[in-house]
Symmetry: C2
Subunit: 343 residues, 2 copies
């Protein structure tokens, strides 16, 4: 910090430290990167000089020489307005913390809809980032294939649904295990007619979550036919689906693919003067802020996003060491946050 008080605004360089400590540049470099190569007294002298000048290696110079930026690129996808899905926040926070602990920083960039790989291409070609984290691995997303083609190191949050043979690193949450947890919770409470409100059939994630519900129901020999609905992920869709199901199938509980849909169910219950919890149980997915603050609270499946972030950084570390260690995918188990909406 000493230098900041000076008039000149140029930070000290390695050469400045070397001069002050009475050693050569390489010795200072070793003191920073390979301290074990120095005699203890020399090391101490250099470290004193570093502290006195407030020296910190110039990133650009280091990046240029080592051909690594120590930056991880991630496309920032905002949550949609009018939904309850703001999981990104919790995830990004842990990601920032974890990458920071490992000497990396997170670089955010935006994507345009007409050119989904544009941002990736620029950053890769200008060697601005060492690797990417890909978060939107929905069906038909060309990014994973593009990155693989261009030999860009990356870790995906999400399984390679469409092609299980692809060998890239990934971390995901077992959605089916989550909904199974939710359904079992309701079954244990005595419910037998448990309805499902999920997403359209072309969503792999949606079908995965739905599978957890059917698995739990069938494990207790309970029927699922007529009890399921597949809609868009909006509050109004959830509301309408709940109304139809209540009329036609008389369920006593709902398991939903998202908190947004669960919120829709609450709307319908409110319309009909039914209390969520005592009258009809509802479970959502994502443990969003909405689930946490709504009167009574919504029981919801909570993804271990902190753990996901840690695993992603671990996988990145593996990829960026030489030679790259490509571990298999990692599948993490969610938990259930129980609140008033399930009794």
């Amino acid at each position: 910090m000493a230098w900041s008080g000076r008039v000149a605004l140029t930070p000290p360089t390695l050469a400045d430290v070397a001069e002050l400590a009475g050693v050569s540049r390489q010795t200072v470099s070793n003191a920073v990167n390979n301290p074990e190569l120095l005699r203890p007294d020399t090391l101490a002298r250099v470290q004193d000089a570093i502290a006195e000048l407030g020296y910190s290696p110039n990133r650009a110079a280091r990046n240029l020489r080592t051909r690594a930026s120590h930056l991880i690129g991630m496309k920032f996808n905002p949550a949609q307005e009018g939904t309850a899905n703001a999981a990104m926040d919790r995830f990004v926070h842990t990601l920032v913390e974890t990458t920071g602990e490992n000497g990396y920083h997170l670089l955010l960039f935006a994507g345009t809809t007409e050119d989904p790989v544009g941002g990736y291409d620029d950053l890769l070609r200008s060697t601005a980032v060492d690797a990417f984290i890909v978060t939107d691995t929905y069906l038909g997303n060309p990014q994973v294939a593009w990155l693989t083609d261009h030999r860009a190191p990356f870790v995906a949050f999400g399984r390679p649904w469409d092609n299980p043979e692809t060998s890239h690193a990934w971390v995901d949450v077992d959605g089916a295990a989550g909904t199974e947890l939710a359904t079992d919770h309701l079954l244990d409470k005595g419910h037998t007619r448990i309805a499902w409100i999920g997403w359209r059939k072309d969503s792999f994630i949606g079908e995965d979550r739905r599978a957890g519900w059917t698995r739990a129901m069938h494990a207790r020999n309970l029927p699922t036919t007529g009890l399921a609905s597949r809609v868009e992920d909006t509050v109004t869709s959830g509301r309408e689906a709940a109304a139809v199901l209540l009329d036609e199938a008389q369920p006593s509980a709902f398991v939903c693919a998202s908190d947004t849909l669960a919120m829709g169910v609450l709307h319908t219950l409110g319309d009909r003067g039914l209390a969520w919890g005592p009258d009809i149980a509802v479970v959502g997915f994502d443990d969003s802020q909405v689930a946490q603050v709504v009167p009574g609270g919504i029981t919801s499946v909570r993804q271990p996003l902190e753990q996901v972030a840690v695993e992603i950084v671990k996988a990145l570390e593996g990829l960026l060491t030489t030679p790259p260690i490509a571990g298999p995918g990692v599948l993490l188990a969610p938990t259930l946050a129980v609140r008033g909406s399930s009794g």
Copy 2:
């Protein structure tokens, strides 16, 4: 992109382009940075070569030479669990987009509680970022003073409450105008006993928002005494404050400093079998996802976060040009998102 198909994984350099185009390195550099210096036919020839090789300037090398990283650092502060405040998401998204359009990228870093300026210090000393965006400008935050001391360019989201004489660039939202808008909206609906639930007195932001409520009330010669409460920003605090106010002051409407507090009011109304909207009106602040999806919806003051982001980037551009153009602060007006909770 051509190079990516090759065996060697090294991207083409400026020298490669120069050789292919039959010109010198400097000419290629000019073609990229100062095209007007070249004869049209030479420019075209160089651009063809650039396209053929898929050349993109190496960031590290450019950064080293120009002493600029084209990165903007921002500490990522996650929303608290159990609150409704997830404004960060919308803000960050526009920020990423806007910085990207201006040739910058956003670098996120984490802060530790015991060393609030640690992250800033590292990035600044290693010349990893050109400037900072500071978002948590609450009272007693040492970052602004520290950055000023160290002559680090930065723009703050938030006014310099504690010291109006400081001359750094800032962008803020006129919170008082927002609550005044909210209060006027309720007054126009015929309410006269409008209560305020806000934050503790040491919060400048909270006092600012409160001032909008008093201003609107006094403008119509309505009393405010006994109608205000100052609590922590949690749902339970809002709930308790609403209960006390209902018992002691019989308000017909509430204006709250946050959606979290508004949500607390809804809890109390639910407890007492009162309908929000028809019986008691409620207005929140932030237009969070919670306000948007709760049954009926919560009327809420919406901060123009997209506009804030744009203004911040504009201010950054001014700071980073030579000589720095330090414009005055920018104060933006919020809007009111009207929903069921206010009628």
